[in-house]
Structure formats: C-alpha cells, structure tokens
C-alpha cells in the first residue's frame, strides 16, 4: 500500500521523525460529551493516544481531569495542546512533560493461574514488586500493582510465562511535582 502522506510534499519530513512521548493533563468542565470532544479531536486530526484516563476531581465545581499520553514531534504536541484549548469546556491544558518533573502512576489488576513452582514464583515476584494479592483461589491470584507504567510492564513480562490469564490497567494518572497546581 502506498502511504500517501509520505509522498505528500505538504508534510515536511521533520514532522515525522523525532517523535516524543508527552503526558497532557487536561482540566475540563464535566459536562456531557466533553470526553467525546477530546477523543474526537484526536481521531479527527490523526493524533495518537497511548493512554487516556478520566474522572471527576472536584465534585462541587464539576471538574474532571483527563490525562492523555500521546506521541508526536514537539511541533505536533504543541499543536495538540492548542487544539485542545479550542474546545470550549476545557479549562486548562498542561503538558506535564514540558513542565518539568511529574509523577505518573498506573494501576493494574493481573490474574495469574498455576500450580506448584509457578504459583510460588509468582507470589515471590509479587512480593518483590510490592503487588497486593486481592483475590485468590487454590490455583490463581489476582495481583494489584500500582506504580510507573514501566514497572507494571516489567512485572507483567515476568509473570507471563508463569500463567498470566488476563490483565486490566487504568492508564496513567499524573501530576506535576512540587507545591503548586500544574
């Protein structure tokens, strides 16, 4: 298949190459359809979503925080931020990756089934990773693990051969470090 975009003289080569991963923190008015507006913007303009989380963060004010992890060139990411700012019910868009250091956390539930050595090994790994056991049968566990996404990736890869059954992850929640709001 021909990639028409790559043939197009309109898209300069620089836009494609130096892709970076950025975490955007978007504070929105929690009105109906606001998530659809954000997601629609990403699909409509061809931006990537690696992870997206959303939940209400201030009940009285009706605010939700949407945390989006996306990849693109620095120019593309700047464009994404500005496009998000055009959405009427959006209060504020912060590029946490530009903002300095931030805390990013992901939470996973991991079901592992097995007997004998595998079961013991899984339990040992869970201890090493500080994963909690939140459900158990004689032949399975569900572990709860929160932390940086890479840490969860590592744990999942380790338990995979021991009998990984299924996995649920929340996606990334993030805040900038220090005393002030981002």
């Amino acid at each position: 298949m021909t990639d028409i975009a790559s043939l197009s003289p309109y898209s300069s080569a620089t836009v494609r190459s130096n892709a970076e991963r950025h975490t955007l923190s978007v504070l929105v008015d929690n009105e109906p359809g606001v998530l659809a507006r954000v997601v629609g913007l990403f699909s409509g303009r061809g931006y990537n979503i690696e992870s997206l989380t959303v939940a209400e963060v201030a009940h009285a004010e009706h605010w939700s925080r949407i945390t989006i992890v996306t990849t693109g060139s620095p120019e593309a990411i700047e464009q994404i931020s500005h496009q998000l700012e055009r959405i009427v019910p959006i209060h504020k868009v912060t590029d946490l990756t530009l903002h300095g250091r931030s805390i990013e956390r992901d939470l996973a539930l991991i079901k592992v089934a097995g007997k004998g050595e595998n079961r013991i090994e899984a339990q040992r790994l869970a201890q090493a990773f500080n994963a909690k056991i939140v459900d158990t049968t004689l032949e399975s566990f569900i572990f709860e693990l929160s932390g940086k996404p890479e840490k969860i990736d590592d744990f999942v890869e380790l338990v995979r051969p021991l009998g990984l059954v299924e996995l649920a992850r929340t996606g990334i929640a993030a805040l900038s470090r220090g005393p002030v709001a981002s």
């Binding site: 043939l7 003289p9 309109y10 359809g33 659809a36 409509g44 009427v88």
Partner: protein, 586 residues
C-alpha cells in the same frame, strides 16, 4: 428581572435580545412550537428557504456581509443533517452562525424515534461548539452563550439542539448582556513586547510583505482601516488570501493582487523573495504556500492570529502574536508612530523596483476574442459596469470563482462572499439571498458556474417569494471547468464525467422561477446584456456562454513552489510539469 415564558418563546425573545432581525429556516415537527412563537411576533423576520443547506449559506452571506451573527432554524433529523455542509463551510471560513435545531422530546432521545438523529454527535466535528438543551432552566443561558461563542474569538458556527418538550416547558427567562464564560475566554489583546519586536523587525526589513486573510475581515471594519494605515505608514506591499479580499483596497498603490494557487505572479514572487512576511489573520493554508519546504525560504515570519492553534500549524514562524488582528494592528500603528519608526527607504525602493518588474509580466492577461466571450473578459465587463454601484459579490466554486477573485476588484471589506476553506459548490445563490436580505437596496450578484448553480437552484423560489432582486451571472462553459482543467493537466485530457450534460435551459428556468432570463454569447452584445441585467428590478439568471476550454491561470501546480508557477501563455505540456507527488494532491 426574570420573565416567565415557554422555551419556544425564549428562543424568539433571545433572538430579539441579540439583535437578530432575520432568521433563515425551514419548519418541521420538532420545531413547531418555535414556529408558533415566530407567528406571534413581528420583530424577527423568518425567511423560508427551500433546503436547509440554503438556510446555512444564506445565514453565512448575511453574516459575512454585515459582520453580525447569522441564524438558521431547522427541524430535527433530516433538517439537521441537511445543514451539516453549511456548518462545515462556516467552520472552515470562521463565519459566526447560530444554528437552532429541533430535537425529539428528551424522553425519546436514544430510542431511534421518528426524525431523531444524534445532532450534537454529528455536528461536534463541524461546529465551534454545540449544546443539547436538557432542561428549560439551562435554556436562556445556553442561547446567549451560543451567540457569545459564535461571534467572539475566532468566529464559527454553534448548534443549539432543542428537544420539543423543552420548547413547550415554561421557565424564567433572563438576558445577561455581558457574558463571562467560565472556560472560554479568547485573548483579544496581543502581547505588547512581541508587538514591539514585530515593529522592530518591520523597521529592519529590506524585502517585506503583508500577507493578510479573512481574519482581518472578521475582526471588523476598523481592522481593515488600520491595515490600510499601517500599510501607508510602512510602504510595504500587500497581498491577501481569497478570504481576505477587500481588507486592503484593490485600487491601493501597494496592492499586489491575491496570492496562492491562482494568485498573481507578483504576489507569489514577492512572497517567495521576501525577507519578512507579516501574516495578519491568515493561516498558511496549502492553497497559499504551495510546496512547504520551498515556501518563502529567506523570509522571517510574523504571524498575528486570534487562534493559538493557527500559529506554527503548517509553517514554523519566528514570531507569533496571539490576539485579535484589529487590536494588534492598532498597537503596531501606535508603536510605529510613537517610536518614530522608519522603513528602510533605500531597500524598499529596490524591492518595489523588483516588484514592478514582476507586475509588468501582467500575469492575469488573457487572449481576448471577438467571436467568443472569454470568461475573464465577462468578469472584467461585469466589474466595469458595476464598480460604481453599491455592489456585493458572491460566488460558487470552480474556475469562475477564481476568475471572479482575479478580475473583480474589491475596495471595501464585507463585499465578497465566497466559500474558501471547504470550497462548497452551491454556496453562492443562498449566500446572495442572505446578503440581499441584509442589504435590500444593494446590487447583489452571484458569479456562478453552470454546474454549481444547480446544486442549490431551488433557492430561486426563495428569491421569488421575498422579491429579492439577486443577479445570477453564470459563466457557462458546459464543463465542471475546474475539474476539466485538472483532468487536462493531470489525467491526459480524459474528461471523465466533467461535461455538464443535459443542462436546463437557464432562460426558461428563470422564467419558471418568476425571474428574468438573459442569454448572451456575443462579446459585442455583452455590455448591453449586463446593463439589462443590472437595470432589471427583479431577480435575473444571466446565462453567459463562454469559451468552453479556457484554463484558469496563473497556477501553482500541486506540489510546486511559488516560483514554479505556470503562466497563461507558456507553451508547454503542463501535465509534464506536475510530478507523481503533485498528482497525489488535490
């Protein structure tokens, strides 16, 4: 000072409070309460169109020619979906519209009820913002907020979806004049330090150019005035996009003509050779820049725009100033004066010498004929015979649109209504109707193509009903000329489906719609025929039979740079000029 009324009454009251005197619409089950409220009052005039797309473009014409918000009112389901093209058109060209749509009652939403569609879902991508009103308590706020969002910042279309039960419900109505929205607060004033920097760059420039766009028109008449003042102070040349024509006068000494794909030689080469581009309210769109990596290679770029996302979107600029271009231009003029700035006179005079050489190339020239009407000649005659009148021009989309932009000259803003960003065939007639409603005494002409005009020809009925004396000037080449031109240049002259077969007899069609029909195919009789059109007190369809295979030049072929444009009398195989990459582009 709350007043009790029904939702439907609130809609009409809000229109009145917003100063809306004209609404373009089409009734249906889901908006009957609003039509009933309209029946009971005299302030808001309703114009019954013949298709909801027509209502949208009419509202656009009204908005573009007045600077006010255009309003349309349509029913649920097909009424709303028919309006989608016009909404998208308004979004692309930043035209302020409020579109009121009927919706099934709230308890039926989601049940696939008769004439239900997910209007807010469908229009989310083609509006600046949209609302589904779920309760009568929210209605007054949303109505006024809709106008605020439509007209402020970068203008655009806003949809308010109104379930029928909300129209029937009773509640308290309030009009808050100055809304401050909790999240939406566009930045009007530009950053003064940056404006200072811009003025400094302008004083240093040796080969500067103003590249202006529709944003100057949207900002209002004062922005155009200030642009003229700044151009006068600096002596810099001025070019404009299709959407910006009229902001700087075409009879001004520093005017280079339109730039871009069908822009003039001097405008495009000035851009290409410049060392400073001051972009005011334009957006470096692909029709303007041509091949991006060859666009104005030596120029530093200043970009003034109210929409932060426009800056650095297609072209990386050296200085971005976010703000309303009227305000920013005003600050520039003030600083230029107070800091006693001077342009580099010696450099500028060299620059103008160069530009004058390019101008002498006379890139809009064409070989005229005594036997057949050349479309460019027709537009030139139309211009000469109407320029001293109070005239508004709309267009459809195609070659005729480009010839109109090239050969009709605009000295004032808001006189030129055309579909730029979306390129919507069928825009011109309804836009002319909207313009004529706003300017009943003026001469309103739709410069049309024979293919485009058929896309919303039903609006002739609207013109007839309201006795609107719109003039439709069809450059009839019996082809979808712009398509045929591309097929000639890019597809070996295989005119696949671009012949306008089985055309109606436009003179008889005019008659059928209660209008006057005029046909002319003789260059010698053209002036008299145009005068007959102008002097006729009612609507006219003018079937101007022109050269069928005339091409629109100059042209920057797809994927080429400004300095690679094709001129009219270049005797070469144009197909060979455009490479495989260029053919991929539209």
């Amino acid at each position: 000072m709350a007043k009790q009324m029904t939702g439907a009454e609130m809609v009409v009251q809000a229109l009145a409070d917003q100063g809306v005197d004209t609404v373009f619409g089409y009734p249906g089950g889901a908006v009957l309460p609003i039509y009933d409220a309209i029946f009971h009052q005299n302030y808001v005039k309703h114009v019954l169109v013949r298709h909801e797309q027509g209502a949208g473009h009419a509202a656009e014409g009204y908005a573009r020619s007045t600077g006010k918000v255009g309003v349309l009112l349509v029913t649920s389901g097909p009424g709303a979906t028919n309006a989608v093209t016009a909404l998208t058109d308004a979004l692309m060209d930043s035209i302020p519209l409020v579109c009121l749509t009927g919706q099934v009652p709230t308890h039926l939403i989601g049940s696939d009820a008769f004439q239900e569609c997910d209007t807010v879902g469908i229009t989310r991508h083609c509006t600046k913002h949209n609302y589904l009103v779920r309760s009568i308590e929210d209605l007054p706020r949303i109505l006024h907020e809709a106008f605020h969002v439509a007209r402020s910042g970068r203008p655009g279309p806003v949809v308010v979806d109104l379930p029928k039960d909300v129209q029937f419900a009773t509640g308290d109505y309030n009009f808050v004049k100055n809304i401050t929205h909790k999240t939406y607060q566009p930045k009007m004033k530009g950053d003064l330090d940056k404006i200072k920097q811009a003025v400094e760059m302008m004083a240093q420039a040796k080969r500067p150019v103003f590249y202006t766009g529709g944003g100057v028109i949207n900002s209002g008449k004062p922005a155009s005035d200030t642009l003229r003042e700044l151009a006068g102070l600096t002596g810099f040349p001025v070019t404009s996009t299709l959407m910006g024509l009229g902001a700087y006068p075409a009879n001004g000494k520093q005017w280079l003509g339109m730039l871009g794909m069908h822009g003039t030689y001097e405008a495009n080469l000035t851009m290409h050779g410049s060392d400073l581009i001051i972009c005011v309210g334009a957006r470096f769109d692909d029709r303007i820049t041509g091949r991006l990596d060859a666009f104005a290679p030596d120029a530093k770029k200043i970009h003034i725009d109210i929409d932060p996302s426009s800056i650095n979107k297609n072209v990386k600029v050296d200085l971005g100033i976010i703000g309303d271009c009227g305000h920013v231009l005003e600050d520039m003029v003030r600083l230029w004066r107070s800091e006693a700035r001077k342009s580099d006179a010696a450099a500028l005079s060299e620059w103008w010498k160069q530009i004058d050489i390019w101008r002498k190339r006379n890139s809009l020239a064409f070989r005229n004929s005594k036997n057949v009407i050349k479309p460019q000649h027709a537009v030139q005659r139309l211009y000469e015979l109407t320029k001293d009148r109070d005239t508004y021009i709309t267009t459809e989309v195609g070659q005729h649109q480009m010839w109109a932009a090239q050969h009709y000259h605009f000295n004032e803003p808001n006189r030129w209504m055309t579909s730029g960003g979306l390129g919507t065939m069928g825009y011109g007639l309804p836009a002319a109707i909207g313009t004529q409603m706003a300017h009943p005494q003026s001469l309103v002409i739709d410069i049309a193509g024979e293919a485009s005009i058929l896309m919303n020809i039903q609006e002739m009925s609207t013109a007839h009903q309201y006795r609107l004396p719109v003039k439709i000037f069809i450059l009839n080449n019996e082809y979808m000329g712009m398509v045929r031109q591309w097929q000639e240049l890019l597809h070996g002259g295989r005119y696949s489906e671009s012949y306008s077969a089985s055309l109606p007899d436009f003179v008889k069609l005019a008659d059928a719609y209660g209008a006057k029909g005029i046909r002319c195919d003789d260059p010698a009789k053209l002036d008299d025929a145009i005068m007959e059109m102008i002097n006729h007190p009612g609507a006219v369809i003018f079937d101007c039979l022109v050269d069928k295979e005339e091409n629109c030049f100059p042209m920057i072929p797809s994927g080429k740079a400004h300095n690679e444009m094709i001129l009219a009398d270049v005797d070469q195989d144009i197909g060979a000029v455009i490479d495989e990459k260029g053919k991929m582009l539209v």
